[in-house]
């Protein structure tokens, strides 16, 4: 059974037509299921966990990066995670902006998303973990003042710029070949002076006294914090045009 999790903001008038189109398309494709609207629900985690216990085969995030993040947050550390990993898939129908996660899965718009759900192409992917927060695509932080500590060495940026800790890229960058199955995180540092640094690691710690980390453009997390990759953590439904193999 498919369970569609609609994020709060879909209640706004401007998304009505889009949501109607999605529902008609899903009906045409025979992909009807249960709809859960997050607005008005106090215990989001409990609601999602309950659906998995009841045997949901596919949980579909209808919304944006934040919607996906809420679902992952509800599942990963819960006692139902084992059931989720064995029996349940995560799908996405992107609506509106902030949908880099859907883009990285090869899902460009809501129409394409429905076809992709039908095709049911499945990939197991890693997740990044910072402290107790998971991220699917990447975490970013200001480079100046950031120190990254690995097992045997440390690195420090001397210029302003941006540090990106990448699990899965939302576009096929020619700088790095991000791979969400390899058990490694790519660290890309680009300074305002134009120089680039590229490293790969399984785990490290990160500190910046002035700036916070931003995970998937959604969650802000303070430092110092441990960063690591969790291998093959979730099964997702992906499109042909995804940014990984």
């Amino acid at each position: 059974m498919h369970v569609y999790i609609y994020d709060d903001y879909l209640n706004r008038g401007r998304y009505n037509k889009t949501v109607n189109r999605i529902e008609i398309r899903l009906t045409d494709l025979g992909l009807n299921g249960k709809i859960i609207r997050l607005s008005g629900i106090k215990n989001i985690r409990g609601t999602i966990q309950n659906e998995i216990r009841l045997g949901a085969k596919t949980i579909v995030a209808v919304g944006n990066n934040q919607t996906v993040n809420k679902i992952i947050g509800a599942i990963i550390e819960a006692d139902i995670y084992g059931d989720f990993q064995k029996n349940t898939l995560l799908g996405i129908i992107p609506v509106g902006p902030d949908n880099s996660i859907a883009t990285s899965f090869g899902i460009k718009n809501e129409g394409q998303a429905c076809n992709i759900l039908l095709a049911r192409r499945i990939k197991k992917i890693d997740l990044g973990l910072i402290g107790s927060y998971y991220f699917l695509n990447e975490a970013r932080i200001e480079s100046l003042g950031t120190k990254i500590n690995f097992a045997d060495y440390s690195i420090e940026a001397q210029e302003r710029g941006e540090i990106r800790i990448i699990n899965l890229l939302s576009d096929r960058s020619n700088t790095i070949k991000s791979n969400p199955h390899d058990g490694l995180l790519d660290i890309l540092i680009k300074t305002k002076k134009g120089d680039e640094t590229l490293l790969r690691a399984k785990n490290f710690s990160l500190i910046n006294e002035r700036y916070n980390l931003l995970l998937d453009d959604v969650i802000e997390v303070k430092t110092p914090n441990e960063v690591k990759v969790v291998n093959n953590k979730i099964n997702v439904i992906v499109g042909k045009d995804r940014s990984f193999d």
Binding site: I155, A157, T197, L198, R200
Partner: protein, 135 residues
């Protein structure tokens, strides 16, 4: 012949690139090819190849298969295969290499020894023994 601004092709998709604004401290053991354009203190090792750019400052022993240097290195170099020192290279330390090329302008303060020297000495000893027998 040597263009200091162009890295050899094999470094274009290097696994690790340390940019000019980055400072590394500690024992860096890399997988695959490494490009250093910034500062590194400690030690640097890979089974593959290392490129040290013109503006790089390395205070470390370096251990690599091929090593190409255009910057400033203070430390001993252990190169299994090919060592190339560009015109702007400054080396303070002892060097062990398989094959060596040095561009005009490179500065070396230290001892050089070829990885092939010991085996050549042994061949000469064997030849001498044969001559003694014949006599």
């Amino acid at each position: 012949m040597f263009n200091r601004n162009i890295k050899p092709d094999k470094f274009k998709d290097a696994e690790t690139v340390i940019g000019a604004s980055i400072k590394v401290k500690g024992n860096f053991i890399g997988q695959g090819n490494i490009v250093i354009e910034g500062t590194l203190e400690g030690s640097l090792k890979t089974d593959a190849n290392i490129f040290v750019g013109e503006k790089a400052k390395v205070v470390a022993n370096i251990d690599a298969n091929d090593l190409i240097i255009y910057g400033d290195v203070r430390g001993n170099l252990k190169v299994k295969n090919y060592l190339s020192l560009g015109a702007t290279a400054k080396i303070n330390g002892d060097i062990q290499f398989g094959a060596l090329s040095v561009e005009k302008g490179a500065v070396i303060n230290g001892q050089l020894s070829s990885n092939g020297e010991t085996s050549r000495r042994e061949v000469k000893e064997n030849d001498k023994a044969k001559l003694d027998d014949e006599e």
